[in-house]
Amino acid sequence: MTTAPAATRPARAVAATPSTPQRRSPLSRGDARPAWLFLLPFALFYLAFLIGPTIWMLITSFFNTSTVRSGLGTFAGFANYGEMLSRADFWSSMWHTLQFTIYTTPPLVILAFVFAILTNRIRRGQWFFRLAFFLPYILPSATISLIWVFIFTPGSGLWAAAQSAVGITPGAGVLASPKTAMIGIAIATVWWTLGFNFVLYLAGLQEIPRELYEAAAVDGASNWAQIRYITLPMLGRTTTLVILLQIVASLKIFDQVYLMTSGGPGISTQVALTLIAGTGFTDNRIGAASAASVLLFIVIIVIAIIRQLVDRAAARKEA
């Protein structure tokens, strides 16, 4: 029915016969040296700015390392981990990170899908909608934060003005209450980053051959049936990609929180990365910050593995 399983089948056949000489990795063939040379500039950066710091993070997480002192400081064993795991604000920041992911991922996937389908149906002036949905995405996070802080300003902001216009007394503002602040940040984020997923979906939609729809229409399939049985399955791979990118992006939330609420009110929007940045660069405790980073690292890996397993199970069922 769909092309997806057809596309994976040959790939699996290849994987099953790895001994075929033509299929060996290019790096183990004769032209390995030029390949490595081409990779070298990137590999150096990768080593210096990703692998290196990651190893340093693992090491310092076991020491009372200070940001302002050279050297590792005294050995702390698992004390930094113990501290983080017993800190209420660490758990709350982890929960807020997850909460933000839960708030943003479904709307960012579903709305992007819906808007892409609607835009794709427009014949004339499609460029306008493409631009309108994508434009916020090219703005820097500082700009979108300013815009949304203005919208949510208590008393005089756009949201408060709209509320008074329909006769509701505006409250203290969306960002002011611990209950709604994260929702405010999530709304700003959805508006901001929707465009990226939207473009991915739109590209996916334009890959679907028109003949499928024509054939379905000839068979008397309704619009809804066409979306349900052609569009959705054909966009399956795009959706997988979008969800993965979105979860990872949401778990890395930092800018909007830092700029819109700085973690407040109280610590009700403090997320993992603001806690880590605060511990490392404000409290000057690189050791403790490293331990928190390692814990976040583990969480992200676990979530990625779970998603991979779910995907694999789904693919197996489909096959």
């Binding site: 209420a88 203290a172 002011a176 009110p265 660069f281």
Partner: protein
């Protein structure tokens, strides 16, 4: 011919030529290019003094005037590069990281309460008597209270520019309607709990609601300043934290008294329940409230509101003794390798900024430099003269490695106090949240 042309001009030749050209440029530009300076770590422009500060709003424009005054004496804009950063933790984090990364500014502004942890972290160079003498300064040039406050381990770590206490702004028209203004337009003395509360009630009748505003939404410093002011007015008030931040020593009775008093004012409709920083001002400026509690620096904003008649007085003494939360802006020398000339240049910059303290005082701050503080010109400044006495009862934040103006301590405690004012937390719930959130800082030895 056209067919042969590509053969003589290959892609390889183009790339090779490009690399060669870039290399020549890089070599030629080694001495002066920003890239080369960045790579070898040499100063971009050795003649230029680099100055970091955290002043926005009215303070920011006055500091720019003073910077222009310095530039005029030293051959124009090239002599000084001043950079402004958002105040609070982000500023001090940047200052710390720049110094650790060996790229500090020549001179920086620091709050007095933040200079101490910076000094403990080896970020600041002590200032010797010889440094002071080299530009004609001495300990006697400064207001004794702020000079004594900056001394740490017997060394001078910072040169105070001012003292900035929390004060009370009032809207003259509203206060006049409420009968709180005397014949010559000054606010009547509202000291004493009963006097102040009846004033609030009188104002509330005039405005039909709020009488006094304190910013408490997306704002943690102001709730802390107000709390710390009233708390220290109570006899027997203890430091909130002691032993460089390892003991929580707050007097809980005094804490409960102040916080429940503020909640009572909110419940009576006298004190706002939830306003952000700008909103709290606007209420007073537009006559929807009579009083507004904030640092004196908001004088510039108030003066820029056309048609607003306002005055400023020390925060009312509602308990046993006068007190006002305060801090000082100071000049500090971040640790770096300096030649004697560079050191002298940095000191000269500080001296020439201090000479312009009168400009700074226009922005509300009480100058620390005695030649200005004692001058007739300063004493004639209105309304500055009406609240200058607040600097005498200044209470600084408790010294702690995570404390001081705009610090983690202020943010943690201030956030809970903001929630108390929103009636979103009871005083007891807020105190236990404070205790719980400070626990890790209380237990952690200073990393400095």
């Amino acid at each position: 011919m056209a067919i042969n042309a590509p053969a003589t001009f290959t892609r390889r030749a183009l790339l090779g030529g490009g690399v060669a050209a870039a290399g020549t440029l890089a070599l030629a530009g080694c001495a002066s290019s920003p890239l080369a300076a960045g790579l070898v770590g040499s100063p971009l422009n050795p003649e230029q003094l680099i100055f970091w500060n955290l002043f926005g709003g009215g303070d920011g424009s006055r500091m720019q005037t003073m910077e222009a005054g310095y530039e005029k004496l030293h051959g124009g804009g090239k002599s000084l590069q001043a950079t402004v950063f958002a105040w609070g933790n982000p500023y001090y984090s940047k200052l710390t990281l720049a110094t650790v990364g060996n790229k500090p500014p020549d001179v920086a502004i620091s709050h007095l309460t933040r200079a101490k942890p910076l000094y403990d972290g080896d970020i600041l160079e002590p200032i010797t008597d010889a440094d002071l003498a080299s530009v004609g300064l001495s300990a006697g040039s400064f207001n004794a209270k702020s000079w004594a406050a900056q001394k740490t381990d017997g060394r001078n770590i910072a040169i105070p520019l001012d003292t900035h206490p929390l004060v009370m702004f009032f809207n003259s028209d509203v206060c006049a309607k409420a009968g709180l203004v005397d014949a010559d337009g000054k606010l009547k003395n509202l000291d004493g709990m009963d006097a102040f509360e009846s004033a609030l009630a009188a104002v509330s009748k005039v405005t039909g609601g709020t009488a006094i505003t304190v910013a408490n939404v997306s704002e943690t410093a102001t709730p802390w300043r107000v709390f710390w002011t009233f708390y220290n007015q109570i006899k027997g008030a203890t430091p909130f934290i002691s032993d460089n931040g390892s003991t929580l020593s707050v007097n809980e009775d005094a804490y409960t008294e102040v916080t429940s008093r503020l909640q009572k004012w909110v419940k009576n409709g006298w004190l706002n329940k939830g306003l952000d920083y700008a909103g709290a001002q606007t209420q007073m400026f537009t006559g929807k409230a009579a009083f507004y509690l904030q640092g004196e620096w908001e004088i510039t904003t108030a003066q820029s509101v056309s048609g607003l008649k306002f005055g400023m007085v020390p925060a009312p003494q509602i308990y046993d003794k006068p007190a006002a939360q305060a801090d000082s802006h100071t000049f500090v020398l971040p640790r770096k390798d300096r030649t004697p000339e560079q050191r002298k240049q940095a000191m000269l910059f500080i001296k020439q900024m201090l000479d312009q303290s009168q400009t700074w005082a226009m922005g509300g701050h009480v100058p620390a430099y005695l030649p200005t503080l004692d001058s007739a010109a300063y004493k004639a400044l209105e309304p500055q003269a009406d609240y200058a006495s607040a600097a005498k009862v200044a209470v600084y934040d408790d010294p702690a490695w995570y404390g001081g103006s705009g610090s983690t301590f202020e943010a943690t405690v201030g956030a809970q106090l903001g929630l108390v004012q929103q009636l979103a937390a009871s005083p007891q719930a807020a105190l236990s949240a404070i205790k719980q959130q400070l626990q890790v800082y209380l237990n952690t030895p200073s990393p400095l």
